[in-house]
Amino acid sequence: MAQNENRFSWKLKDVLMVAILGVLFSFLYLGTVYLGMAITTALTPLGWGQAGYEPFYGILFMAASLTVFIIQKPGTGIVAEVIAAILEVLMGNWFGPGVILTGLIQGAAVELVFLATRYRRFDMQTMILSAVSVGVLSFLYHFWESQFYLYPLHISLVMLVVRTISSVIFTGVIATLIGRGLAKTGILKSYPLGQQLAGAESLEVDG
């Protein structure tokens, strides 16, 4: 039964869910990168070009958080995020293979919070915490990787704040809502989230 299932062994259904979410989100990610590109170009004359991606950054962590929210097993979020990143690179993300490493870091940052709860607590609060974690940590990584420190500090600070807010909205709140919505449809019945939520109220109606 769901409760005493081994949390470290992946079943076929887990692999399939991870892979399929990775695939679905790779499309969304690529779309996001295009959108960010457009906004960057628009903001550039104002000197804020590099901030163009920030409002949507949260979207880029959603595969990790949604997957781990559904399957609730260690590593699922990381793998989903990396699969999404690899596909993105193969479909033509102009940031190149570096994106795969970024994906790995983002996935890990999302799972950090769940690791702290030993993969026991999956609710809106932990989801939002993990969103903050990934927002901040991924920014620190970019701060180093893309040399943000060469530029005025206030720009970086604004970027950090915008990214974290975006992450809370998309990776935290929206991913949780999507997960719950999916669970309510009953299609997640073989995953922990589906068992946890779909029957929260009794479904049968007498008469």
Partner: protein, 244 residues
């Protein structure tokens, strides 16, 4: 070597990824262009890839690199953007270059990535990739076939979305082009498929870890090893010795 398809996929991917990693340290426009050109030549003349598909990928990318060129051109003095968009260190010297050159650097790097990416994805059937992952990398069938099944979903995603939108339209329920409900409905159908798939595969006797025979076994030939070493090496040499 007859065609690109005959290279062992894992080795091909290794060569492509290594080359791409090396390219992140490259500043030379010429090398970028060379890599792209080599990719195109190999796809066009040494593979069975459909030329129409190549075109379909190249058209939007043409737009993107034009945009990138303009971005780079306009913001040559803004190194931050440049290094951000290329995702690398050490481009500090960029600002001193001419705007045209900065634009070219940005856009041709993308071309090089695209050339490598397409070279791999257009000449490697998903089935071969998965077989090679099992045979050369010893990936468990559970993971290999899980990923393969997900790949098979790709062409269906657009169709599912179309079907979902059609379901709304046909019921006379209007939803704008950006309405989220059809997206959710399509997602539900995709995930439902994945959930049932595990059952379908198991009832067909699929055992994720165990023994199975293979209709085809992809082997490694000396040429594959040479390619894995030689291609990244060439790119590395280019990076070291090409200045512009």
């Amino acid at each position: 070597m007859k065609t690109m398809e005959s290279i062992n996929p894992v080795f091909k991917m290794g060569a492509v990824l290594l080359s791409a990693v090396i390219l992140t340290f490259n500043h030379a426009v010429i090398l970028n262009l060379l890599v792209f050109a080599a990719g195109m030549v190999l796809i066009l003349f040494f593979s069975r890839a459909e030329k129409r598909r190549l075109l379909k990928f190249l058209l939007p990318i043409g737009l993107i690199i034009t945009a990138l060129f303009i971005t780079g051109y306009k913001n040559a003095e803004q190194t931050l953007l440049a290094s951000f968009a290329t995702g690398t260190h050490g481009l500090g010297g960029l600002a001193s270059m001419s705007p045209v050159y900065t634009g070219l650097q940005l856009s041709t790097r993308v071309l090089a990535y695209v050339g490598l990416g397409l070279l791999f994805s257009l000449t490697t059937p998903a089935e071969d990739m998965v077989l090679s992952m099992m045979h050369q990398l010893r990936v468990k069938p559970k993971f290999a076939y899980g990923i393969l099944a997900a790949f098979h979903l790709v062409p269906n995603i657009a169709r599912e979305l179309e079907d979902a939108k059609f379901a709304y339209k046909v019921r006379g329920i209007s939803c704008g082009p950006f309405a989220l409900q059809p997206f959710f409905a399509a997602m539900v159908n995709c995930i439902r498929w994945s959930e049932n798939l595990a059952m379908a595969m198991e009832s067909k006797g699929f055992d994720g870890d165990g023994k199975r025979t293979y209709a085809r076994i992809l082997s490694v030939r000396p040429a594959d090893i040479i390619i894995l070493i030689a291609v990244p090496l060439l790119v590395l040499l280019g990076t070291l010795f090409l200045k512009y």
